[in-house]
Each structure stands twice: as C-alpha cells, then as structure tokens.
Point group: C2
C-alpha cells in the first residue's frame, strides 16, 4: 500500500507558505498503514496537475491532493480532476445549501462565484466540510483512490478525520498489513546520555520480531529530550499494546523525568497538580520577563491556581515588590542563590500563595559578569516547608533561554508536587 | 530558468519533520530569478534518488538537493550523486582538516565514520560548511547545476548564502532575465477593507509594463494585515527602486498603521521609541497573563525601558498590587473601561514609570457574562498627560487572543509615541 501527497499552489513553491499539511498527512497516513512514498508540490497549472494525476494514478494506491479548491479563477484542482476522470459536473444540492448557510451565518450576501463550489464531478463522492465552503471530493476508480481537499489546514484535517480516513480504513482493511502507532514521552532537565543511563537495558523495549517491531528514539532539543516509541504491528490492538508495554517500562525507569505522555505542555501538567491539591502559585520573574506566567495562563482555568505574577527586572523592583534585601543584592548580586530564594519567598508571602517560584539570570545574548557566564540562571522555589534555589547554565540565545528557563521553573514545581512514591 | 527542490529523507515523508527548508529555498530561489517549479520529497533510497536525479537533470537548469549527507549508513545522497555523475571519490584534505577541527573544538574523539565526510566525488566543487561537518557539493555539467547540501537548516542556509547563490548568480547572470524582490509592511488593529480604503487608488503602486511589474497583496491574519509588495524587474537595482517607490506611497496613505517594514516585531519598534525618548514603561496584565511583558523582554536591552510588570489575575491582586478601587470592581466589573484605566494608572504610579499600560478581558474559550461576550477586552494607557482605555472584541481562541491583545497593547504605546506629524 503506497500513497503520494500532491500539494497544489504557487504560494508553496515560492515559499510564502510552509507545507505543514504534508507533514500532518504524512504522519496520519503512516499511522493508518498507507505511508507516503512521495510528497510533491506543483504549480496552479491545469496541464501540470493533470499530468501529475496521470503519473500518480499509475504508481500509487492512494493519491492525496490538497489546495486549489477556492472559488477563484486560479483554483484549478476540481476542474483538473473532472477532466482527468472525464466526468461531467452536477449541482450538489447539499453542498449548495451548506455554502449558502455559511454565508447567511456570516451575514454576507453569497457572491455568485461561490455557487461554483457546489458544482461537483458526477463520479465524485462528496466529503462534507463543516468548516468551510469547499467540500472534499473522493474518486474511487480501478481500485485506486484520489481525494482532493482544500489547502486550509483545519478544513483539510476535518475532511480527513470525518471522511477520507474512515473511507481508506474501510476500503483497504484487508490490504493494510501493518499498522504503525507512535507515542512520545516528554522529559526535561536531564541530558540525553544520563537519561539513556537511567533507562538502561532497552532490549525489553526495542524488539524486532517476524510480525511486529518496536523502536525507541531519543530526540533532544534545547535541554528537553523526547522519547519516541514506534510500534509496527498487524493490528491496531497489538500496536497499542506494544506501545503501552514500552510506556510502562519507561515510566518504571525514568518516570520521574517524564512530564507529559500526551503532547500536553508542562503548564497543563502542573495546572492539574495544583488544582487537585487546592494550592495557589505565585511567580516572581526577572530573566524570563513574564513568560512563566504567560505559559501558566495559556491554560484555561488557570485563575483557579495562579494568584499573581511579578516581573521584577530591576533591583529596585526586586526590593520594593518582592522584599529582596538590599544587602543580598549588594553582597551576592541579582543573579544568585540568595536572591532567587528571597524572590520566591517574597512573592509567596506577599501574594499569600502556597508556593512561590522565581527566575533570575542573564538571558543573553550579552550580560556576562565575572564568574557568571551568559545563560547563568537561578530558579527559586518556596512552599510551606522549604525554600531552595537551583542553578543552571543555558546557552547565549535569549529566546531559547527564556523558553527553557520557564519550562524548568514549572518542572521544579511539578517535581515538588509529585509524591516521591510515584517517582519510581 | 527553472529549478527543482528535492528533499531527501524518510523523516520528512512520515511527517516527523516539517519541510521548512523547501519554503526558505523557494523564497530565495524566486528572489534570485530561478523560481522552483517543483518541490519533491523522496525516501532515503539510492535507486529512487538516482532516478529522480536523472529525471530532474532532463527538465531543470538548477537542481537543489537537501538531506542525507550525514555520516551514517542511511545517508545516501553523496553516494547517489557520485554514481549518477559516474565520478570517483577523492579525499579532500581541506574538508578533512575542517571535520577534525570541529571534533577537536568539541573535545570529542572523531569517530572513524566521519572521515568519510571528506571523501568527495572528484568532479564536485566543494562548498565550505563552517557550521557543520558535511560540505555542500556542487556539480556543474552540460550547463546544468545540481547541488547537494545537508538538511540541517542553518547549515543549508550557510552553504547557500556563501557558496551556492553567488555561484548561481554568476553562472546564470546573462540568462536570469528577471529579478523578484518582495517587501512586507506589517499593520495591526485595522481591518483589511478599511486599510484598502485608506490606501485608496492603487494604480500608482500596482503596475504591469513590458519590462517590469509591481504587485500588492493584502494578507490578513488574526487582526493583523500584512501588505506584501512584489516587484519583478530585469535588474536588482530596478526591482529595489520599484519596491521603495511602493513603500513610500503606502506610508503616505497608511503609514500610521504600519509598525514594521523589516519583519521585526512590534516590541522592537516600541523599544526603539521608548529608548530614544528615555521613557520607562510599566505593565499591568490580567487577561494576557504576562505575555505583554514577555514580548517586551524578548528584546535584548529591554531592561533600559521596562520598569516592572504585574500579572494581576484576581480582583484581590488588582486592588492590592495596582490600587484598583473596590467600588470600581463592584460597580463596573474587572472587564471595564474604568478598571483598565485604574490598572494602567496604578502600575505607572507604583512603578514610578512614565507610561503604564494594562489589559483586562475574557481571553476565552469560556467566561462570557451579560453584555460581555468572550473575547471582550479593555486595554488601558496612562502617561503624564492622559489616561484612556480602548475596547476590543476578539475571538474565543485563548492563545490567539493573548497574542493579539498583547500586540494591540504595544501598538497603542507605539501610536502614542509616534508624533502626529509622522502619522500621515
């Protein structure tokens, strides 16, 4: 079972748009068991489109086409498909009603040109698009499937999930001989080699047998390491079981470092923990400049556990807003263990929160002082029982530093809120 | 002059990696005057690679290949190129020295496998890669150029800028008959149609003559509109002049709304303005949760003009940290003109700053109250002369709202700091 993804559009060729559709489709088609063997981007040109349809129809079982389905003159995909399949058009009443409805809801008069979107090739199966005006069109001929969809990512994804993928799974059920499932565990604050050491012997995870295979990849980036498990099996059930087994083993060895196994960010993880315990968090930021708070408030409902945040860039603000002592700043400097601790304590006390966290450091790209290279950061933590600060040395890249420091501060909260018994 | 981009790698096909290289190359090749007519992604498979090289060599003047240049067994691009061009290998001493140097600098013993990276096809021109171990390799045969480069984006870009692009410009100088230049002006807070109305007659901007063309595109997204000018001309000089003329005209008509003409974000624009005037800014955030401050501190040197930031999510915090009056919150609610004004005044006064800004609203996806739909936001501004607040109604998408509200708050600062005389 082989597929090809064809993206249509000059804007992709000349780099105005990054082809994220192809990546999403690549991942999903691989999971279904019909991985793409080619991704091809071609211009908005009828001859080119028809020629590539012809070539693809000879070689691939499934041809996925996105883009060029709008109502204007340079949208040629439907026309090309109709010519290629030598099909005449019919007016699809259901699509017309839907398009009219969309315009009515937006309180806009429907331009005449949009009626054209309800004219579909007679032999096409119409895949409903709740999210926009252009439907997906599926052509099933000689055992091969060609499907055209709009290039707008959320429209394309909607049509795939509700129309195309169920169709492919059903049609090719007997011919799809392997299913691929992936899961990624996210860790932070532990290096790749140390993580590998903690995990140790992977022979119980990584296996290759006649009818199944499990792979494990370490994917490091900016002080985070993702563990990607890939399972290839004959059935979805088996693949899921293989994934679950691997996840359990990895949690047993390195569960302490895993903050997410469902692609949700760390701010979501700590939100759940804080809410469950009924605790309030206060944040004092220097080098992260508001990003810790911003991440926390990315989660809907965060007002339940975030009390306040203070961005205290200057020494003045650290003293006045957080109660950091003058002597501390004088003796140890703003980037120090003592300052980080006093910031965390101060914001906790003044906000009457249960937990205070703080960041202070040189985010870069300049600002090094003697003994404190660019990227030196102290993260402070204070709760009812104890107060401490941890030192890190990150890179010279300001934006990358702000991001990882913020995540690391949240990771410290996560670790403190996770019962030791669960930190296997 | 036609080109094709060939990306090699299973990880792109199955969607683990988004092909941003192709977008960057598409933009640059278009600018040079050799726009790509195809972007093709193929697997790490020697036969497939050689077949596509053959096909491409028949049709395109320039073939740009990225990926598959690493030191391991699944990196097949160099091997495939050597076979395709029937060239034997030679050990390039300069490359070997460079690879050794890279490992020495990292204080790592060079694995034997990396010596292979200095073995290059004899007929290839070696394009130096300061940023990594694999050099670019350029094959110039029968008037056509095939160039292979590593897939790591910054390595690929380095080789393009220092080696490939100068080579192409020089070799095809006489055959490149048109140069394309683009510039994008960024506006915020004005709708597409109103902006078009302000700009009015575009016949002095958008022109198509025998030997040049100027295009103008309105690109709206999340309450911002970008104006993209494209100039096509015979020489770079002419194209640049056409762009400049169009920019001047657009500034004349809508300069008031343009916050950037060099892709720099709005926080950079206001940083320059605040620094020039020697003014200090303080920020009080509710619904943006720290994002305004975080954006400001994304700019190195922002400590020169940012005094403090307060994230006051709760009514308690608004009263205690910002001095918002109880009666205001009771009578008008937290999401109100009066509260926004008191927040901006309060943070300005307490931080002894020159300017205070504030955000308060319902970021979504839920939280509507009577008369205040989700997405209702008040942005407050206070300086020595006056205090005001503006109302906006954005969408229900929390992250998009946080982003646009933060930008809008900065835009209000920008407008207030821009002399009326420049707001043509």
């Amino acid at each position: 079972m082989k597929s090809i993804i064809i993206s249509i559009g000059d804007e992709i060729l000349i780099g105005q748009v990054v082809n994220t559709n192809a990546a999403w489709l690549g991942k999903e088609l691989t999971a279904i068991g019909i991985p793409p063997e080619r991704v091809l981007t071609i211009p908005d040109d009828e001859n080119e489109i028809i020629n590539e349809f012809k070539a693809a129809f000879k070689k691939y079982n499934v041809i996925i086409v996105t883009g060029g389905l709008g109502p204007t003159h340079d949208d040629l995909t439907v026309k090309s498909a109709a010519k290629f399949f030598k099909s005449k058009y019919i007016l699809n009443q259901k699509v017309l009603k839907h398009v009219k409805h969309i315009f009515a809801r937006r309180k806009i008069n429907m331009p005449a040109v949009n009626i054209g979107q309800a004219l579909v090739p007679e032999i096409a199966k119409v895949l409903h698009n709740k999210t926009g005006t252009a439907p997906g069109l599926l052509f099933d001929k000689k055992g091969r499937v060609l499907c055209i969809m709009p290039g707008v990512p959320y429209e394309m994804k909607y049509i795939c999930k509700t129309g195309l993928f169920p169709y492919l799974r059903n049609k090719f059920a007997k011919r799809i001989t392997r299913v691929i499932r992936q899961k990624t565990l996210h860790t932070i604050g532990i290096g790749e080699s140390l993580l590998a050491e903690k995990i140790g012997d992977i022979s119980k995870i990584v296996r290759k047998k006649r009818d199944f295979e499990v792979k494990l990849a370490f994917l490091p980036s900016n002080y985070e390491v993702r563990l990607r498990i890939t399972a290839i099996a004959k059935t979805e059930l088996k693949a899921k079981k293989l994934i679950n087994d691997a996840v359990l083993l990895l949690y047993k060895k390195a569960g302490k470092y895993i903050y997410s196994d469902d692609e949700s960010p760390i701010e979501k993880t700590i939100g759940v923990l804080l809410k469950k315990r009924g605790l309030k968090l206060a944040v004092a930021e220097s080098c992260t400049g508001g990003l810790v708070c911003s991440k926390i408030t990315d989660v809907a409902g965060s007002s339940d556990y975030l009390s306040d945040g203070i961005v205290a860039y200057s020494n003045e603000a650290k003293k006045k807003l957080l109660g950091v002592k003058s002597i501390t700043l004088k003796k140890f400097g703003a980037v120090s263990e003592k300052t980080a601790k006093e910031m965390a304590e101060g914001v906790k006390r003044r906000s009457k929160a249960d937990i205070g966290i703080s960041t202070t450091g040189t985010a870069g790209p300049t600002g090094a002082t003697r003994g404190k290279p660019v990227g030196t950061v102290w993260i402070g933590f204070s709760d009812r029982k104890n107060t401490f600060a941890k030192k890190f040395i990150f890179s010279k890249d300001r934006l990358r530093n702000k991001d990882i420091i913020s995540k690391m501060a949240l990771e410290i909260v996560r670790q403190q809120l996770t019962p030791k018994s669960q930190q296997l």
